[in-house]
Symmetry: C2
Subunit: 345 residues, 2 copies
């Protein structure tokens, strides 16, 4: 009976797929959680298994919207769910440590939104807990996993543009937001640096594969006391530089330009989720490569984590914890220059 035969094949295939599927639990139902959940549909080996919010009503609505089988009205219930392989911590950054620790101590792998914590000290605690509980932990620097970013790293490691001498990247959004909005609210870890600047600092860290020797910066603080415009110069050995600026009050182009001794690479139009790379070598015509994908692109991060978990890797080698710790240390140094400290860190 060929019909039965086919259904058996399907059953076996489904069982294999299920084995390889990674079950995600989302902790927090805000804006970024929505985007992540929507992108999970494009993931090759990830499936949304449960969502959670402090409000059961909010969790239910989120679950309906994203077709999640389970909705929890508490984070504790989510991390106790035996069906969950990995928890995506999508709460505001002042809560990243607490919620990551909650999941880690429950034995769950954790993907924690960026910045991984408010400061390096907090992340160090999270890393220790992950080591102690023998679980996977990664900062949600989703930029790292885009096909264009993978290609960019390849060009850089092949020294296609020679030795990198200068990097320029910016990220400016005119939020037009009030004092209670996340971006302005000190209680929610507001400020352009933590929200937008983390992309710049992490990108510079990726390009130079190290932290700067010298950091100079200028800041403007808005009415709530957090930074709304930030300019930074990072200097590396032999005077190579990164010029980085972020703002929550003015729309600044989000292109990145990397200049080396042999040419330049442009990543854009949005460097942190690039769809175009242009390689311009001296005395050559520019070569532009286009990349396209469905959704916002969180699926590349989700699929990377699925592979790490399937291979039982203790952490990601593309976004290692040591690097997240280094970039947070750089962010700490910058904020120290401005005397910007949050009450909840």
């Amino acid at each position: 009976m060929p019909a039965l035969h086919e259904s058996v094949k399907k059953l076996i295939s489904h069982s294999i797929m299920s084995k390889n599927l990674i079950h995600w639990g989302i902790l927090g139902c805000g804006g970024i959680a929505n985007t992540f959940a929507a992108d999970l549909r494009h993931s090759q080996c990830g499936r949304l298994a449960a969502v959670s919010s402090r409000s059961k009503r909010k969790a239910n609505a989120f679950a309906r919207k994203h077709n999640a089988p389970v909705a929890y009205g508490s984070y504790e219930e989510l991390v106790r769910d035996a069906d969950i392989d990995v928890v995506y911590v999508a709460t505001p950054h002042p809560m990243h440590m607490e919620h990551s620790l909650l999941a880690i101590r429950a034995g769950k792998a954790v993907l924690c939104e960026k910045p991984a914590a408010m400061n390096a000290r907090q992340l160090r605690r999270m890393i220790k807990a992950a080591e102690k509980n023998n679980v996977f932990l990664m900062e949600g620097m989703w930029s790292r996993f885009f096909p264009a970013t993978v290609q960019l790293r390849k060009w850089l490691s092949e020294k296609r543009i020679g030795r990198v001498l200068a990097l320029e990247a910016d990220f400016g959004v005119n939020f037009k937001a009030g004092p209670k909005h996340r971006i302005n609210n000190p209680a929610l870890g507001g400020g352009a640096l933590l929200d937008l600047g983390i992309y710049l600092v992490s990108f510079a860290s990726m390009v130079y594969t190290k932290q700067p020797e010298i950091i100079v910066s200028a800041v403007h603080k808005g009415k709530t006391g957090v930074d709304d415009q930030t300019s930074m110069i990072f200097q590396y050995d032999h005077g190579a530089t990164a010029m980085l600026s972020c703002s929550s009050r003015v729309e600044i182009k989000t292109e990145a330009r990397i200049y080396g001794t042999k040419g330049m690479i442009t990543a854009g139009p949005i460097f942190y989720r690039p769809q175009t790379l242009t390689l311009q070598l001296q005395d050559h015509k520019p070569k532009t490569v286009h990349f396209s994908h469905s959704g916002n692109g969180f699926q590349f991060e989700a699929d990377h984590i699925a592979k790490c978990l399937q291979k039982k890797k203790p952490q990601s080698d593309l976004m290692p914890l040591q690097e997240s710790l280094s970039t947070l240390t750089t962010m700490d140094k910058i904020r120290k220059q401005w005397k910007l400290k949050y009450s909840n860190e």
Copy 2:
């Protein structure tokens, strides 16, 4: 006799034209003097009358190349030439003060290449001498006079992009030059800041119509001790910024981007001699205006000076001496941060 009548008309017309023509004397026969002399051909009311070099042979060759009626083997002879209205000082910047003073004291109007002097102290002496001798003096910031720059200033003064909050401009050239080349040679006032950075500092001064309140910078010095890569953040009131970088060792795009509360303007592809302006207002399609001209564009500067002289203006209102002095003061502050002082200043 209509033929005679015509020739008389031509004679009268030529005589009027001659009266309005400004006679240029070029002091120094280097690279920039060559470009200036070539562009004078496109000037509406300027004529190359004489050239001078310390080497008579060099002056002769230059005069032949640019069809100058007179060639002098000394600068003293040039400034004594009664036929010369204005002297273009085109020697390296450590000689700007000395050569400008020579011409000023001979009663000549002076266009002095940028930077107008090595430091503000030197320029102050030049300004005093110009006032005492009642002659016109201007820094050769030729960028100011391009049709695109005029249009850009118009848009800025009309607040088309609202209040300016951020400016980004860069100027990087890979000179591939030895230690004796002008750009590296301390005796010739070498270094990226004085040679390329002056364009950035002057451009920021034009955009913000003031000097920065806070300057932070990072520098790399090459083998000869002068700066070969320089990054600067200027901060103005209410945290508006200029991010500027220049380099003599890496090719960095020379585009300028000006961001305001209502939109942005891009000046490029070479901001200091722009041929394209793009106005991008929020929620509008970008509007690009193209400008084209003959030669390199020094003719716009020459024609501006001709008009100033014809109107007997004591100085230019588009590139006033007070502003040149302010930008040099900013340059002095930057160099002080790096402890870079030239023996001949």
